[in-house]
Amino acid sequence: MAKNILAVDDSTSIRQMVAFTLKSAGYTVIEAVDGQDGLDKAKSQSGIDLVLTDQNMPRMDGMTLIKTLRGMPQFSATPILMLTTESSDEMKTQGKAVGATGWIVKPFDPHKLLEVIKKVIG
Protein backbone atom coordinates (compact mmCIF):
# COMPACT_ATOMS: atom_id res chain seq x y z
CA MET A 1 0.00 0.00 0.00
CA ALA A 2 1.27 3.46 -0.97
CA LYS A 3 2.56 5.61 1.88
CA ASN A 4 0.93 8.98 2.50
CA ILE A 5 3.01 12.13 2.58
CA LEU A 6 1.70 15.53 3.64
CA ALA A 7 3.53 18.23 1.62
CA VAL A 8 3.17 21.75 3.03
CA ASP A 9 4.42 24.74 1.02
CA ASP A 10 2.93 28.12 0.10
CA SER A 11 4.63 28.07 -3.32
CA THR A 12 2.40 26.42 -5.93
CA SER A 13 5.33 25.49 -8.13
CA ILE A 14 7.23 23.85 -5.26
CA ARG A 15 4.12 21.87 -4.29
CA GLN A 16 3.78 20.73 -7.91
CA MET A 17 7.42 19.67 -8.03
CA VAL A 18 7.34 17.87 -4.71
CA ALA A 19 4.08 16.11 -5.60
CA PHE A 20 5.40 15.07 -9.01
CA THR A 21 8.63 13.71 -7.51
CA LEU A 22 6.84 11.78 -4.79
CA LYS A 23 4.01 10.49 -6.97
CA SER A 24 6.53 9.28 -9.57
CA ALA A 25 8.08 7.18 -6.82
CA GLY A 26 4.70 5.72 -5.87
CA TYR A 27 3.80 7.79 -2.82
CA THR A 28 0.39 9.33 -2.24
CA VAL A 29 0.67 13.07 -1.71
CA ILE A 30 -1.64 15.35 0.28
CA GLU A 31 -0.93 19.02 -0.46
CA ALA A 32 -1.35 21.95 1.93
CA VAL A 33 -0.88 25.64 1.07
CA ASP A 34 0.50 26.85 4.43
CA GLY A 35 1.15 25.76 8.01
CA GLN A 36 -2.44 26.25 9.14
CA ASP A 37 -3.78 24.29 6.15
CA GLY A 38 -1.18 21.62 6.88
CA LEU A 39 -2.34 21.37 10.47
CA ASP A 40 -6.00 21.16 9.42
CA LYS A 41 -5.23 18.40 6.92
CA ALA A 42 -3.07 16.55 9.44
CA LYS A 43 -6.01 16.58 11.85
CA SER A 44 -8.59 15.52 9.27
CA GLN A 45 -6.59 12.86 7.39
CA SER A 46 -5.54 9.63 8.95
CA GLY A 47 -2.55 7.49 8.10
CA ILE A 48 -0.04 10.23 7.29
CA ASP A 49 3.37 8.55 7.22
CA LEU A 50 5.54 11.63 6.74
CA VAL A 51 5.25 15.41 6.79
CA LEU A 52 7.39 17.53 4.51
CA THR A 53 7.11 21.23 5.31
CA ASP A 54 8.49 24.60 4.27
CA GLN A 55 9.53 27.10 6.96
CA ASN A 56 8.50 30.58 5.76
CA MET A 57 4.78 30.54 5.09
CA PRO A 58 1.86 32.87 5.79
CA ARG A 59 -0.56 32.18 8.68
CA MET A 60 1.66 29.51 10.27
CA ASP A 61 5.35 28.80 9.71
CA GLY A 62 7.01 25.40 9.58
CA MET A 63 8.48 25.53 13.08
CA THR A 64 5.09 26.26 14.64
CA LEU A 65 3.52 23.48 12.58
CA ILE A 66 6.11 20.96 13.76
CA LYS A 67 5.76 22.08 17.38
CA THR A 68 1.97 21.78 17.18
CA LEU A 69 2.09 18.38 15.48
CA ARG A 70 4.55 17.06 18.04
CA GLY A 71 2.03 17.97 20.70
CA MET A 72 -0.52 15.65 19.09
CA PRO A 73 -0.17 11.97 20.12
CA GLN A 74 -0.72 10.66 16.57
CA PHE A 75 2.23 12.70 15.28
CA SER A 76 4.62 12.24 18.17
CA ALA A 77 6.64 9.66 16.21
CA THR A 78 5.83 10.64 12.62
CA PRO A 79 8.89 11.75 10.66
CA ILE A 80 8.75 15.45 9.83
CA LEU A 81 11.23 16.90 7.35
CA MET A 82 11.82 20.60 6.83
CA LEU A 83 12.26 21.63 3.19
CA THR A 84 13.35 25.25 3.14
CA THR A 85 15.67 27.87 1.67
CA GLU A 86 16.91 28.59 5.21
CA SER A 87 20.35 27.10 5.65
CA SER A 88 21.72 28.68 8.83
CA ASP A 89 22.87 26.48 11.68
CA GLU A 90 20.80 28.58 14.05
CA MET A 91 17.60 27.69 12.21
CA LYS A 92 18.58 24.03 11.99
CA THR A 93 19.17 23.95 15.73
CA GLN A 94 15.75 25.52 16.31
CA GLY A 95 14.20 22.95 13.97
CA LYS A 96 15.84 20.11 15.84
CA ALA A 97 14.63 21.58 19.13
CA VAL A 98 10.98 21.71 18.02
CA GLY A 99 11.12 18.11 16.80
CA ALA A 100 12.07 18.07 13.12
CA THR A 101 13.46 14.75 11.92
CA GLY A 102 15.66 16.30 9.27
CA TRP A 103 16.50 19.43 7.30
CA ILE A 104 16.59 19.70 3.51
CA VAL A 105 17.82 22.94 1.95
CA LYS A 106 16.21 24.14 -1.28
CA PRO A 107 16.75 23.76 -4.15
CA PHE A 108 16.22 20.05 -3.59
CA ASP A 109 17.48 17.27 -5.82
CA PRO A 110 14.49 14.98 -6.48
CA HIS A 111 16.66 11.84 -6.32
CA LYS A 112 18.21 12.88 -3.01
CA LEU A 113 14.79 13.81 -1.63
CA LEU A 114 13.49 10.35 -2.51
CA GLU A 115 16.56 8.73 -0.97
CA VAL A 116 16.02 10.55 2.32
CA ILE A 117 12.30 9.76 2.39
CA LYS A 118 13.01 6.12 1.64
CA LYS A 119 15.53 6.11 4.45
CA VAL A 120 13.04 7.63 6.87
CA ILE A 121 9.84 5.78 6.02
CA GLY A 122 10.94 3.00 3.70
Binding site: S11, M17, S87, A100, W103, K106, P107
Partner: protein, 291 residues
Protein backbone atom coordinates in the same frame (compact mmCIF):
# COMPACT_ATOMS: atom_id res chain seq x y z
CA UNK B 1 19.19 108.83 12.39
CA UNK B 2 18.74 112.12 10.57
CA UNK B 3 17.10 113.76 13.62
CA UNK B 4 19.98 112.61 15.80
CA UNK B 5 22.61 114.10 13.41
CA UNK B 6 20.74 117.36 13.19
CA UNK B 7 20.61 117.64 17.01
CA UNK B 8 24.33 116.91 17.13
CA UNK B 9 25.13 119.67 14.63
CA UNK B 10 22.85 122.10 16.46
CA UNK B 11 24.44 121.17 19.81
CA UNK B 12 27.94 121.62 18.39
CA UNK B 13 26.97 125.03 16.96
CA UNK B 14 25.42 126.17 20.25
CA UNK B 15 28.51 125.03 22.14
CA UNK B 16 30.74 126.87 19.63
CA UNK B 17 28.75 130.11 20.03
CA UNK B 18 28.82 129.89 23.84
CA UNK B 19 32.56 129.23 23.87
CA UNK B 20 33.16 132.12 21.44
CA UNK B 21 31.14 134.48 23.72
CA UNK B 22 33.12 133.17 26.70
CA UNK B 23 36.44 133.83 24.93
CA UNK B 24 35.36 137.35 23.89
CA UNK B 25 34.20 138.15 27.43
CA UNK B 26 37.58 137.29 28.92
CA UNK B 27 39.49 138.61 25.93
CA UNK B 28 42.67 136.69 26.61
CA UNK B 29 44.54 134.42 24.24
CA UNK B 30 44.79 131.63 26.77
CA UNK B 31 41.04 131.55 27.38
CA UNK B 32 40.39 131.67 23.63
CA UNK B 33 42.77 128.72 23.12
CA UNK B 34 41.19 126.78 25.98
CA UNK B 35 37.70 127.44 24.55
CA UNK B 36 38.83 126.34 21.12
CA UNK B 37 40.19 123.11 22.61
CA UNK B 38 36.95 122.52 24.52
CA UNK B 39 35.00 123.13 21.30
CA UNK B 40 37.13 120.58 19.44
CA UNK B 41 36.61 118.12 22.27
CA UNK B 42 32.84 118.61 22.11
CA UNK B 43 32.85 118.08 18.31
CA UNK B 44 34.95 114.95 18.77
CA UNK B 45 32.51 113.64 21.39
CA UNK B 46 29.53 114.30 19.14
CA UNK B 47 31.29 112.59 16.22
CA UNK B 48 32.08 109.59 18.38
CA UNK B 49 28.50 109.34 19.59
CA UNK B 50 27.23 109.71 16.05
CA UNK B 51 29.52 106.92 14.83
CA UNK B 52 28.50 104.64 17.69
CA UNK B 53 24.81 105.15 17.00
CA UNK B 54 25.29 104.56 13.31
CA UNK B 55 27.26 101.32 13.97
CA UNK B 56 24.66 100.02 16.36
CA UNK B 57 21.90 100.70 13.85
CA UNK B 58 23.89 98.97 11.14
CA UNK B 59 24.42 95.88 13.39
CA UNK B 60 20.74 95.72 14.27
CA UNK B 61 19.83 95.86 10.58
CA UNK B 62 22.32 93.13 9.80
CA UNK B 63 20.88 90.87 12.52
CA UNK B 64 17.39 91.40 11.18
CA UNK B 65 18.55 90.48 7.70
CA UNK B 66 20.28 87.38 9.06
CA UNK B 67 17.14 86.16 10.91
CA UNK B 68 15.10 86.72 7.79
CA UNK B 69 17.69 84.67 5.81
CA UNK B 70 17.45 81.76 8.29
CA UNK B 71 13.68 81.66 7.99
CA UNK B 72 13.96 81.64 4.24
CA UNK B 73 16.46 78.77 4.43
CA UNK B 74 14.12 76.77 6.72
CA UNK B 75 11.15 77.37 4.46
CA UNK B 76 13.08 76.41 1.35
CA UNK B 77 14.63 73.39 3.01
CA UNK B 78 11.20 72.30 4.27
CA UNK B 79 9.72 72.70 0.80
CA UNK B 80 12.57 70.66 -0.64
CA UNK B 81 11.91 67.85 1.88
CA UNK B 82 8.24 67.83 0.88
CA UNK B 83 9.10 67.68 -2.80
CA UNK B 84 11.76 65.02 -2.25
CA UNK B 85 9.41 62.99 -0.02
CA UNK B 86 6.58 63.11 -2.56
CA UNK B 87 8.82 62.26 -5.49
CA UNK B 88 10.52 59.38 -3.66
CA UNK B 89 7.20 58.09 -2.38
CA UNK B 90 5.83 58.02 -5.94
CA UNK B 91 8.91 56.25 -7.27
CA UNK B 92 8.93 53.72 -4.43
CA UNK B 93 5.21 53.04 -4.92
CA UNK B 94 5.91 52.28 -8.59
CA UNK B 95 8.89 50.09 -7.67
CA UNK B 96 6.74 48.24 -5.09
CA UNK B 97 4.01 47.59 -7.67
CA UNK B 98 6.50 46.56 -10.35
CA UNK B 99 8.19 44.10 -7.99
CA UNK B 100 4.79 42.64 -7.15
CA UNK B 101 3.93 42.29 -10.83
CA UNK B 102 7.29 40.68 -11.56
CA UNK B 103 6.67 38.19 -8.78
CA UNK B 104 3.17 37.37 -10.07
CA UNK B 105 4.30 36.97 -13.69
CA UNK B 106 7.27 34.83 -12.71
CA UNK B 107 5.15 32.65 -10.46
CA UNK B 108 2.45 32.22 -13.10
CA UNK B 109 5.01 31.35 -15.78
CA UNK B 110 6.79 28.78 -13.63
CA UNK B 111 3.56 27.14 -12.46
CA UNK B 112 2.48 26.76 -16.12
CA UNK B 113 5.91 25.54 -17.15
CA UNK B 114 6.02 22.91 -14.41
CA UNK B 115 2.44 21.83 -15.24
CA UNK B 116 3.41 21.40 -18.88
CA UNK B 117 6.53 19.39 -18.07
CA UNK B 118 4.51 17.18 -15.77
CA UNK B 119 1.80 16.78 -18.45
CA UNK B 120 4.45 15.77 -21.01
CA UNK B 121 5.94 13.28 -18.60
CA UNK B 122 2.49 11.89 -17.72
CA UNK B 123 1.58 11.70 -21.41
CA UNK B 124 4.69 9.78 -22.35
CA UNK B 125 4.20 7.48 -19.37
CA UNK B 126 0.60 6.80 -20.45
CA UNK B 127 1.70 6.18 -24.04
CA UNK B 128 4.41 3.81 -22.85
CA UNK B 129 1.87 1.93 -20.71
CA UNK B 130 -0.58 1.64 -23.61
CA UNK B 131 2.13 0.44 -25.97
CA UNK B 132 3.09 -2.21 -23.41
CA UNK B 133 -0.52 -3.34 -23.08
CA UNK B 134 -0.95 -3.41 -26.86
CA UNK B 135 2.20 -5.48 -27.23
CA UNK B 136 0.87 -7.97 -24.69
CA UNK B 137 -2.50 -8.11 -26.47
CA UNK B 138 -0.84 -8.85 -29.82
CA UNK B 139 1.30 -11.49 -28.18
CA UNK B 140 -1.82 -13.05 -26.67
CA UNK B 141 -3.55 -12.98 -30.04
CA UNK B 142 -0.69 -14.89 -31.62
CA UNK B 143 -0.82 -17.47 -28.87
CA UNK B 144 -4.57 -17.84 -29.43
CA UNK B 145 -4.12 -18.35 -33.17
CA UNK B 146 -1.36 -20.87 -32.48
CA UNK B 147 -3.52 -22.93 -30.13
CA UNK B 148 -6.51 -22.78 -32.53
CA UNK B 149 -4.25 -23.95 -35.32
CA UNK B 150 -2.92 -26.78 -33.22
CA UNK B 151 -6.46 -27.84 -32.30
CA UNK B 152 -7.49 -27.81 -35.99
CA UNK B 153 -4.47 -29.92 -36.87
CA UNK B 154 -5.42 -32.48 -34.26
CA UNK B 155 -8.98 -32.60 -35.51
CA UNK B 156 -7.98 -33.00 -39.20
CA UNK B 157 -5.98 -36.15 -38.61
CA UNK B 158 -7.89 -39.15 -40.02
CA UNK B 159 -10.10 -37.13 -42.35
CA UNK B 160 -10.71 -37.66 -46.16
CA UNK B 161 -7.72 -36.95 -48.53
CA UNK B 162 -9.48 -34.00 -50.16
CA UNK B 163 -10.13 -32.49 -46.74
CA UNK B 164 -6.50 -33.15 -45.78
CA UNK B 165 -5.31 -31.33 -48.85
CA UNK B 166 -7.56 -28.39 -48.15
CA UNK B 167 -6.40 -28.34 -44.55
CA UNK B 168 -2.75 -28.38 -45.60
CA UNK B 169 -3.37 -25.33 -47.76
CA UNK B 170 -5.19 -23.56 -44.95
CA UNK B 171 -2.37 -24.44 -42.60
CA UNK B 172 0.17 -22.92 -44.93
CA UNK B 173 -1.95 -19.82 -45.25
CA UNK B 174 -2.34 -19.51 -41.48
CA UNK B 175 1.40 -20.11 -41.01
CA UNK B 176 2.16 -17.24 -43.35
CA UNK B 177 -0.31 -15.08 -41.49
CA UNK B 178 1.30 -16.13 -38.22
CA UNK B 179 4.70 -15.08 -39.54
CA UNK B 180 3.33 -11.64 -40.32
CA UNK B 181 1.67 -11.44 -36.91
CA UNK B 182 4.87 -12.44 -35.12
CA UNK B 183 6.82 -9.82 -37.04
CA UNK B 184 4.15 -7.25 -36.13
CA UNK B 185 4.28 -8.36 -32.52
CA UNK B 186 8.05 -7.96 -32.44
CA UNK B 187 7.77 -4.46 -33.87
CA UNK B 188 5.10 -3.51 -31.33
CA UNK B 189 7.20 -4.95 -28.49
CA UNK B 190 10.24 -3.05 -29.73
CA UNK B 191 8.21 0.18 -29.92
CA UNK B 192 6.87 -0.41 -26.43
CA UNK B 193 10.42 -0.83 -25.13
CA UNK B 194 11.57 2.31 -26.92
CA UNK B 195 8.63 4.25 -25.52
CA UNK B 196 9.47 2.99 -22.08
CA UNK B 197 13.04 4.18 -22.49
CA UNK B 198 11.81 7.57 -23.76
CA UNK B 199 9.51 7.85 -20.75
CA UNK B 200 12.40 7.16 -18.39
CA UNK B 201 14.49 9.81 -20.15
CA UNK B 202 11.62 12.35 -20.06
CA UNK B 203 11.06 11.70 -16.36
CA UNK B 204 14.77 12.09 -15.63
CA UNK B 205 14.82 15.36 -17.54
CA UNK B 206 11.72 16.60 -15.74
CA UNK B 207 13.43 15.83 -12.44
CA UNK B 208 16.45 17.88 -13.55
CA UNK B 209 14.11 20.68 -14.61
CA UNK B 210 12.50 20.51 -11.17
CA UNK B 211 15.82 21.30 -9.49
CA UNK B 212 16.34 24.29 -11.77
CA UNK B 213 12.84 25.72 -11.67
CA UNK B 214 13.03 26.06 -7.90
CA UNK B 215 14.83 29.35 -8.57
CA UNK B 216 11.33 30.85 -8.72
CA UNK B 217 10.69 30.02 -5.08
CA UNK B 218 13.97 31.63 -4.05
CA UNK B 219 13.60 34.68 -6.28
CA UNK B 220 10.04 35.06 -5.00
CA UNK B 221 11.32 35.25 -1.44
CA UNK B 222 14.03 37.72 -2.41
CA UNK B 223 11.45 39.90 -4.18
CA UNK B 224 9.17 39.76 -1.14
CA UNK B 225 12.02 40.94 1.10
CA UNK B 226 12.85 43.76 -1.29
CA UNK B 227 9.15 44.76 -1.34
CA UNK B 228 9.09 44.83 2.45
CA UNK B 229 12.06 47.23 2.50
CA UNK B 230 10.62 49.39 -0.27
CA UNK B 231 7.35 49.54 1.62
CA UNK B 232 9.09 50.80 4.78
CA UNK B 233 10.98 53.46 2.84
CA UNK B 234 7.76 54.43 1.06
CA UNK B 235 6.09 55.11 4.39
CA UNK B 236 8.96 57.32 5.54
CA UNK B 237 9.02 59.33 2.32
CA UNK B 238 5.22 59.62 2.38
CA UNK B 239 5.50 61.17 5.83
CA UNK B 240 8.17 63.53 4.52
CA UNK B 241 5.87 64.43 1.63
CA UNK B 242 3.18 65.57 4.05
CA UNK B 243 5.68 68.20 5.21
CA UNK B 244 5.53 70.52 8.16
CA UNK B 245 4.83 74.22 8.46
CA UNK B 246 7.92 74.92 10.56
CA UNK B 247 8.98 78.52 10.26
CA UNK B 248 11.74 78.63 12.80
CA UNK B 249 14.81 76.65 13.64
CA UNK B 250 13.30 74.90 16.68
CA UNK B 251 10.25 73.61 14.83
CA UNK B 252 12.39 72.60 11.91
CA UNK B 253 14.71 70.59 14.16
CA UNK B 254 11.65 68.93 15.76
CA UNK B 255 10.40 67.96 12.33
CA UNK B 256 13.77 66.44 11.41
CA UNK B 257 13.76 64.54 14.73
CA UNK B 258 10.27 63.19 13.91
CA UNK B 259 11.52 61.86 10.55
CA UNK B 260 14.46 60.31 12.30
CA UNK B 261 12.20 58.61 14.86
CA UNK B 262 10.05 57.18 12.07
CA UNK B 263 13.15 55.95 10.26
CA UNK B 264 14.47 54.29 13.42
CA UNK B 265 11.07 52.65 13.99
CA UNK B 266 11.12 51.10 10.52
CA UNK B 267 14.75 50.05 10.79
CA UNK B 268 13.97 48.33 14.08
CA UNK B 269 10.92 46.68 12.54
CA UNK B 270 12.93 45.43 9.56
CA UNK B 271 15.67 44.17 11.87
CA UNK B 272 13.07 42.26 13.84
CA UNK B 273 12.02 40.44 10.70
CA UNK B 274 14.04 37.37 9.96
CA UNK B 275 17.22 37.98 8.04
CA UNK B 276 17.05 37.19 4.37
CA UNK B 277 16.33 33.45 4.16
CA UNK B 278 17.90 33.03 0.74
CA UNK B 279 21.64 32.74 0.99
CA UNK B 280 22.04 30.45 -2.02
CA UNK B 281 24.15 31.92 -4.78
CA UNK B 282 23.87 29.17 -7.41
CA UNK B 283 21.66 26.29 -8.43
CA UNK B 284 23.68 23.64 -6.69
CA UNK B 285 21.22 21.62 -4.63
CA UNK B 286 21.13 22.19 -0.92
CA UNK B 287 22.35 20.13 2.00
CA UNK B 288 20.38 17.36 3.62
CA UNK B 289 20.77 16.65 7.30
CA UNK B 290 18.97 14.05 9.33
CA UNK B 291 18.87 14.75 13.07
Amino acid sequence: MKTFSRSAVMGALASGILLAVHALYFGTMNVALADALVFLLIVACWSYLLNQTDGSRKLSGHQEASASGDNLFIQESSAFHVQLGNEMSDQLTSAHTELGNTQAILSDAIVKLVSNFIAISDGVRELSKKAGTFSKQVHQLIENVRSTMSASEQASRGGAPTEADSLAKSKQHVKAMMGDLIAFSDTVAQNANELNAIHSKVEQNVLVVISTLQFQDMSSQLIEHARMRVSALKEITKEMGKGGDSTNQREYMEQIAAYNRLLQKHVASLDKQKSNPVAQKDFGTGDIELF
